[in-house]
Chain length 421, copies 2
Amino acid sequence: MALVVQKYGGSSVGTAERIRRVAERIVETKKQGNDVVVVVSAMGDTTDELLDLAQQVNPTPPPREMDMLLTSGERISNALVAMAISSLGAQAQSFTGSQAGVITTSSHGKAKIIDVTPGRVRSALDDGKIVLVAGFQGVAQDTKDITTLGRGGSDTTAVALAAALKADVCEIYTDVDGIYSADPRIVPDAKRLETVSFEEMLEMAACGAKVLMLRCVEYARRYNVPVHVRSSYSTKPGTMVAGSMEDIPVEEAILTGVAHDRSEAKITVVGLSDQPGYAAKVFRAVADAEINIDMVLQNISKVETGKTDITFTLPRELGPVGMEKLAKLQTEIGFTDLLYDDHIGKVSLVGAGMKSHPGVTATFCEALSEAGINIELISTSEIRISVLCRDSELDDAVRALHQAFDLGGDEEAVVYAGTGR
Amino acid sequence: MALVVQKYGGSSVGTAERIRRVAERIVETKKQGNDVVVVVSAMGDTTDELLDLAQQVNPTPPPREMDMLLTSGERISNALVAMAISSLGAQAQSFTGSQAGVITTSSHGKAKIIDVTPGRVRSALDDGKIVLVAGFQGVAQDTKDITTLGRGGSDTTAVALAAALKADVCEIYTDVDGIYSADPRIVPDAKRLETVSFEEMLEMAACGAKVLMLRCVEYARRYNVPVHVRSSYSTKPGTMVAGSMEDIPVEEAILTGVAHDRSEAKITVVGLSDQPGYAAKVFRAVADAEINIDMVLQNISKVETGKTDITFTLPRELGPVGMEKLAKLQTEIGFTDLLYDDHIGKVSLVGAGMKSHPGVTATFCEALSEAGINIELISTSEIRISVLCRDSELDDAVRALHQAFDLGGDEEAVVYAGTGR
């Protein structure tokens, strides 16, 4: 008998009718002889409605109270799914994140999971019950306050529970059929991937693939939890995210896909003194503003001036914060100018095969130049090549690369419509 | 510095605008130098909407999951009020019933409070914070599941917290100006009562006065918590429920008011053997069906037959259950017939003055007979006279008694519109 953890997104339980359908799928899994733990996000618009209410009473609501407010959404959906399950004759029990032993840090709105102690979940399973756990939420280890995990929180809850319960698989039900070789909205012949290694999925997620959040994949990789991405609306096979790329025979290693990201902005620090420690000052300043930077480029120093430029990318919504922080420190750090550009796009090619297939970078650059796309910045990892271009050229870049590396398939893709938490 | 517990009903927080107004009143109380603990019911229609959702997924939802579902309503309203308070510059923290230490039995949907251990509430108060506690809910002592307290649960939560925190007063904010000498919808010149003793309020509540639920008054009396009933929409003085009628000088003791109740039905067991133990069999049968009976009448036995009739009243919604239970046992108990009547009304006169004013019963009966109302059953306590009549005659009966005992005032009454939980 296997232990299966299933996670359903907010759109999968958006109406009473959908809740009943989800319940049928859950009971079916139980009838097949599995122990089943289910994590459900808040129903469709619940979160937006609660956010709207909060805005009406306080434009800047205290994070602790926001968490108290928002976590009620998952309680509602989980209780309703439990009711739907019992109406099908099976036994179900729903637990809050706190009851399920999801222990987190106390940083409200973006808490991190410290530990999962699923004692009550385990004993409910031992009683033959289907267990529902409210996703996206936990309880702070120190303050005992209710916390939320932020974006991708429900997926992470599911994976964390699967790890703590030593589940055989964590099934993430969403509104796409799986992980694709590119965003089907941009590349109509994008191919669904049967399996993806953790490392490849990490790179895809880090480069903008939205089906799985990075933190969820990181968690799954750390605890080696196979994650099965499937559609809530079909019984198609989906994509299995599991295993290390080290286990893929070199000969079989291939290119996974093309990811893109239009959520970044670019800051260039001009005329920075090309001495040890000056770049560090810049990045310390940015780090102090709690901004994670992504790509970095340092130009070759101009000998006559002994000055250099440093360019880096950061989340677009944090662009103004970063600029302000650096501007304040202009004299202290000592640079001549600051440039800001939020019309950039990032396209990435990911795949373990990169190591064993020479000339990938060459083909990559040729494909873009043939498409008339100018490369503004390049960064690479062992299994990834990423470049910046104009955001207006991003879609063309994705299509050009997808075709150049022959990643297409013939299966028809379900267009991705965005997941909730 | 006083410690004040305030409770606001669902209609008082039905919209963002009302929530802001409630927040202002709370902050005002804090500014006056009081420690403030607030219990808020779920917003206006939230509970009905959740019940409707539950019905859609399962016509007979499991009580445990119903409690998980419904308690989210109070979490939402309390978090929102906390946000509104902090938008006014004061510090607020909201707690679930469980976090506030409301320990209950595990009978979902109608749990009883076993203990209140408000450690977190106390320390938040000590930090100078305004504390919000989700009403109507607690945590089961044995199963650690989330429970709801049933009707009047939020009022009871407030009184229980006031008792555990040794508060100076528990203010119940509702949509009437206080306790009236009769229902103002029936008696336009009904008078608002300045003060009512616990015993009198118990009788009023037990006889159908709906402003305060019986269980809440019982709790307040047991722990001697003064309950101040006030309007959410005005600053009128309201009614103070406090003290024992024993403390009222006999000379000043007066009649409190006229209560009515149209929620009962009447069952008559005909031709019961007039031997010791037969009545007991009847009431044991009813008790086994978990039905609380109210008034009881045993007719004088007919000597020639040695048979008697027993009539009792019970909650109307349980009438069919009671009839079914008794019908099953007809042969075992041995009676000739069962009569059911759900067109009855009960009118009661309550007041400590009854003891010291002779002739109250006479005046009572005269008033009703002059109004052409036939008395079907009488029961009395030390400070109460109750009679059954036709439900169609109930309003006339209330008016007749209210006038006969000159209970009217001239202050204009706010018409009672029903409270939530």
